[in-house]
Symmetry: C2
Subunit: 295 residues, 2 copies
């Protein structure tokens, strides 16, 4: 079963990502408290889904994971920064993340903001250092990540999410939020793996398409888990969306229709792989994995 292949790959390569990230800020630099705050969120667990998707895409195109690890790790830096800032009191005001107190609850707001800024900035420091990758591919990977993370991607999604909270947004608004807040960074993850591996335009486009639908499925599931999951399973506060009166799929369509939407997105993700001629058990299985997960 490809879902088992995906689970195993996620576990094995997730550990490789963990090990890579663990040495990134291991040496003691001033101010120590800033680096502690960065490491607290960076090394605080998590599935490492985004970097592993990047590795899996490169592997699907015949590239060794070890060569792509520095690029994959940069994506996780961006993801971790976004979690720190999203949890801030001025944003979602969350106390719990990955089963532990959120960054600002431990280090205070100022240091949490700065730790987020530092992780985001280091993603680009990491991606621009001399790597065993042609310079033009490195540049393209940087561009894809920045575009997916900034005001035309994740930040736009988070801003719209904040602006819609407690409001009466429609399905189009909800799709905008999920596409920008979640799907674009997941799509960028596979796209970056493809670019670094030297994929042609058709392969890059197919993997990007796959990533978008995978990302939508992931976020629809996230909305659902907030309703049907427990705080213990999730490692973050269950029911937080409802408490903040967030615009979500279950709120607009109910639980059953939401489950169907998630399955549709998974189907489209798989179709994109097939259309692009990408034969990867792991990438197929990952599509099933994101809607079967419980956290």
């Amino acid at each position: 079963m490809s879902i088992d292949a995906a689970r195993e790959y996620l576990q094995t390569q997730g550990k490789a990502v963990d090990a890579y990230l663990a040495q990134m800020f291991a040496s003691h630099t001033r101010p120590a408290r800033l680096f502690e705050a960065m490491n607290y969120s960076l090394l605080g667990g998590g599935k490492r889904l985004r970097p592993v998707l990047c590795l899996a895409a490169a592997r699907a195109l015949g590239r060794d994971e070890v060569e792509v690890l520095p690029v994959a790790a940069a994506i996780e830096l961006v993801h971790c920064y976004s979690l720190i800032h999203d949890d801030l009191p001025a944003m979602d005001n969350d106390d719990l993340r990955r089963g532990k107190p959120t960054n600002h609850r431990v280090f205070g707001e100022a240091l949490a903001i700065l730790a987020g800024d530092a992780l985001l900035t280091y993603a680009f420091e990491q991606l621009s250092r001399p790597l065993a990758i042609p310079a033009d591919r490195q540049l393209r990977a940087i561009h894809v990540l920045a575009h997916a993370a900034g005001c035309y991607g994740m930040v736009a999604g988070q801003a719209e999410d904040i602006l819609q909270t407690g409001g009466t947004g429609d399905a189009a608004t909800l799709e905008f939020i999920h596409l920008h807040k979640t799907a674009k960074l997941l799509a960028a993850s596979v796209e970056m793996g493809a670019i670094v591996a030297g994929a042609d335009a058709r392969q890059v486009e197919a993997l990007r398409e796959y990533g978008i639908h995978l990302g939508l499925a992931f976020q629809i599931m996230d909305d659902l888990l907030d309703v049907i999951g427990t705080t213990e399973e999730l490692g973050k506060s269950a029911g937080a969306d409802q408490q903040l009166d967030k615009l979500t799929y279950p709120k607009l369509f109910g639980v059953e229709a939401t489950e169907k939407l998630a399955h549709d997105a998974v189907l489209r993700a798989k179709q994109a792989l097939q259309a692009g001629g990408i034969a990867s058990d792991v990438l197929f299985g990952m599509a099933d994995f994101v809607i079967r997960r419980r956290s």
Copy 2:
């Protein structure tokens, strides 16, 4: 007089930077409120010192400013993001910047944090897009900027500044803060101009050295202006450092000795130019300018 040349260059090229930045986020994209918040701080005046230094360095090496403008503009994005985040309630809690209410006073904390995140991220989107510059130079410029802005540069300086507030730091701590919070980004500005212009290693090093001392002079003067300037002249709250009990040069050494330190730094900046064989009236004059300014 080279200071007049510097003033005129700053004015002329500052306008070119203004015009470039004004069209950057001119088209309406969703969510509009996010782009308003970004433009509010990006187009809110300011001397454009950092991008103009980048242009002047490239010009000193025979490159036309127009080719370097996209790179110079990226530096101003990073500077503006840092102002938004520094002014936040959790940080310096400032109400006034460039003579106007600070970003979070107008748009709220959540959007101010996101506008800062977006400007920072877009700096790297901008620097990685196809430009009429060799890819390896673009990559080096990105690396220099990220290193100067992140946890080994500006963010480290800001974190140390926050951690020292109200404390009893020594001169070495103060120098760490100023070097990292201000001087490194100014040095990166001239260094990036040099790299993009195709400077050799000796020229890059000389301009970097110049930028460090220029940056220190600039920040020492900033400390001084907080004491001797008025809110009207500065466009930001005078006496804010004292009110927050910040570690500053006047606090440690008094006004007179601080003035001497600023002059020493200017001298060292000029010596670096001479040692590197950089003949630029504008860069020499800029060193005098940063300690003669009143805002």
